[in-house]
Symmetry: D2
Subunit: 324 residues, 4 copies
């Protein structure tokens, strides 16, 4: 079994403890390939988590050829949930999820100790893997060394495989490529989700981790086909909350090498995707969910509902691409 | 009594409730002018909050002509503390603080509801005012409207006066000037701390809020004299953890109009300040505290200790300006 | 024949004049598909243009299956050449270029009038098309409207087809997608070179201009395969000055749909490409040219030669990918 | 006489040549202190330089207590003028300028050799000093070393004193502070104009060059008072084209230590200044000039005239501060 090289002092005892009870082989068996919606969290009028609506959404998602679901990603408004709410939603998803589907839960906090603790709670609540966001508040000090230490400690202690999560648009921080390559050697780190959209970087991550059975997931539907093209194995895509079947179909076309058909479909997805992510964010995602038969509803404050003009813009982005 | 104008629907009932029990006059009596160290949080070797060392620091700070202390600011590693730890530190500071000194506590969370709740806990723990960081995870949606809603709700519900807190280097977000001006009209918002260092903006905030008894605090020692020059009333300065007397002296010179002397002192403080903030961050602040007789110690992970080269650089920045 | 819609007043007289002497059909016949090196400019020890070395490079490039050459792109240090030198190099390339190869010349200046004049000179010197950089000094005022006006006027007056040139790393400006789409309707604008590397944007440009016979060229070798995948027709790649045959082979594999082989080759090119562009720039490109049998040599000041450490880094990026 | 230390090889022969014919004492006699408008360039309807209108503006400026004029700064649309036009405008200003007023001419080009040549032409045309913009196209390679080499060579060869010119909003590049400090030792570099508005940086430049008789000029009216406060000697302010007397009055109040009055005046100038610079740029500057009795007129393309809404916004920024 290959071990992570230490940059400074990577807590060898902790890693040793890990090795006694886990194996690279076990972690490696976790095949991440496929499409995942990072599910939205419906709220009641009083801004409480609406478990009934959540379950109705989950029931619909269960009919789709997703590889699994991501819970407590950015689109789930996880920074607005208490830890208790976060864990409870994971439990609810676990109960509703058909056998054979993966549950990947966000567990990244600012401090290493809190991340370790939340990771353990997520595993106990039924997560098959955890998706760990880069800590980012002290950006100026979050260099490759600090991030390698952080992720190594989390992976050493996690009962389930760890997926790195890089989303510079929210964090203002890009997980350095060298750190990703280094961390890919850790037996309990099985892949990464990259939402930055830099296709050159994604290709290079695939290239430099090819001996490690390290799996790269595209973090947005806008570059999903290009990511498959350069070697990604799947995608965690906000738009899958709305157009889930279509994204699974795009994946199928890429896997079959039917690139011409894939391209036509991919191109129709770029603008709706931009609308529910970069341009108008979670409120737009939830509005679009309503149009397509899911429960979206309002966001928690301070996220504001769309203005009338924004709603109209959102409708145009879907309609002009033939989705509405 | 003047009321905040609504941008959309600013919860008039909540504001009405506020008005029954508070008054602009009461909030206005809170004079913020002066120097505040945003205190660091000492940890034990096991990364637990070290209350003994904290108290020894507080004992020393009590001898200095500070206006008060800021607790749970960025330099206190507040994102790495649990809520219980955050509140407990505020309680400890309250107990140790001499009468007449202000205690300003950080209470900003990502969601409005969590911020309201933590604000209430901070007030109950003894805070005289709360310093509320801009929520920033969903940067793309945190426009003036969302931030005005957020701060208005928090201020409506807060038992103590609210100070806006803008620190773009950490949040990747600049609280729009128009939002600051609008919020300055709220009877329970008494000022702002601006750490961006844009002196033109600071001058303009002073200018456009001059009819509101709104108080501006410089968020860093590097531009403290310039901020006084354009109308700020004080400063919340990381460097005050290390060179507290000197910053109070700088304030005194500015207040007396002894600008030539002030300039000489200010200039010697720029490099040490940059070293413990923008350049090397909290680990450097804590290292420098050790050199000047305070307890700094290690940070919580993932913040790493300074390398030998960084420590040497830090020493040079203090030494070349005559402080070591 | 389709005409460009006007945003404000797009000089209809000038466009009318253009229409009398040109036709969309003529411009459309210019097929841009293929690989182009944006050639470097060799200098003598005294920093004069070294025409002998230039011709020796051109002789070698003539043996390669390039679609053509780009002259006076960023890698040609065009901002460091006088206008006379710029035009003279174009003339020299024209003389040396085998029949059937395209000569695309940079002609972008800050002012519209200077761009029009240089465009005419480039056409007279033998350019088959011009590549027009976005004007960028007054970034804050270069919105879509200003850029549409600029490019429309240039295209109206140009004797040869115009290719838009977007390179945000140098200009600090991204040509708005809406402006590209609008300009794609102009009969004398046949395509764009996009060096930003945002594959989502490239896919969207292809999508939204698909009725216009508008051709997209990737501006860097790092995302060449992904660009082909989403619909680009070729690439203008600095690395083609060094590994020209390999980039033409990558293009061939993409065109044949041999994506697996393409991916292996693409991945080996990412690091060498980053080294001669984003990381170490033109001095590295010229150094690498020397290693591969071309004349690179020194840059004009203020561009500095590589340090020894940088040269070593450059060598590693090529060697670790099997090129040295 | 003190010499510049070399970073790599700073052309000692050239510097030696300089030393034979110049002296630090001579350069040092050039006192830069005071206010300078960076004059706008009026054009005719056909976009030619309108020398008659220029002279009428100059006649009015001659009545004001300016220290001198800056010609071919950013506000003069210098990147849109040919070299011949640039030099001719300098000649015209020289002829019109009353004795005792300084003429500072922009002479920065991308290449070192072109900058040296234009510097000589500007001196021959009557410039008392040259203002040299940072070269910026190859941003990634314009580190401290390259910029020190560039400025040293220019200063070695210039017949008149050199002023460094840092304007990151246009160039996307910040001249490193260490480079400024190093260059301050050159006998023919007498100061810098800093338009970035970072008051901490300005204070630090003053501090670290205090033994060098190095003069710092604020590059914008928005932070003029704060700049005086931390040790600047004057300002090159776009707004001086419009409110010249008021800026000279602000300078007078600062020099007399009448800070309270200065603050009131400074604060009324921030919004009009932002409007004619950062917010709306040169077209707004020229529009405001018309309102205040000067010839502004249109800009060269691709700079567009203000829209009706922008003109209204501009008027409001002046009117709400009592200037219209």
């Amino acid at each position: 079994m290959q071990r992570a090289r230490v940059w400074r002092n990577l807590g060898p005892l902790c890693l040793a403890a890990w090795s006694r009870t886990h194996s690279r082989a076990a972690a490696a068996r976790l095949d991440l390939s496929g499409i995942y919606p990072p599910i939205a969290t419906p709220f009641t009028a009083g801004e409480e988590v609406d478990h009934r609506k959540l379950e109705e959404n989950l029931h619909k998602y269960a009919q789709m050829p997703f590889k699994g679901l991501v819970v407590q990603g950015s689109n789930g408004e996880y920074p607005y949930l208490t830890e208790e709410e976060q864990v409870e939603v994971v439990r609810a998803v676990r109960r509703a999820l058909p056998p054979g589907k993966l549950l990947m839960a966000g567990s990244g906090c600012e401090s290493t100790r809190a991340t370790v603790q939340l990771t353990e709670k997520m595993a106990a609540a039924g997560a098959d893997a955890v998706l760990v966001l880069t800590p980012c508040f002290y950006k100026g000090r979050m260099d490759g060394c600090a991030l390698v230490q952080h992720y190594t400690k989390v992976a050493d202690c996690s009962p389930v495989p760890v997926v790195l999560y890089n989303v510079p648009a929210n964090t203002g921080l890009d997980l350095p490529l060298e750190a990703v390559v280094h961390l890919s050697q850790h037996p309990n780190i099985v892949g990464c989700k990259d939402s930055g959209g830099d296709i050159t970087r994604i290709g290079l991550i695939v290239h430099k981790t090819q001996t490690q059975d390290f799996q790269v997931l595209a973090g947005s539907a806008g570059f999903l086909m290009a990511a498959y093209c350069v070697g990604a194995v799947g995608g965690v895509c906000a738009l899958a909350n709305v157009l889930g079947r279509e994204l699974c179909e795009l994946q199928r076309l890429c896997w079959l090498g039917r690139w011409e058909e894939a391209r036509v479909l991919q191109q129709r997805l770029i603008e709706p995707n931009a609308a529910v992510t970069r341009k108008l964010g979670v409120p737009a995602l939830k509005q679009a969910m309503e149009w397509f038969g899911f429960h979206g509803g309002a966001c928690r404050s301070p996220l504001q509902p769309l203005t009338a003009a924004e709603t109209e813009q959102l409708r145009r982005e879907f309609a002009s691409n033939g989705w509405l």
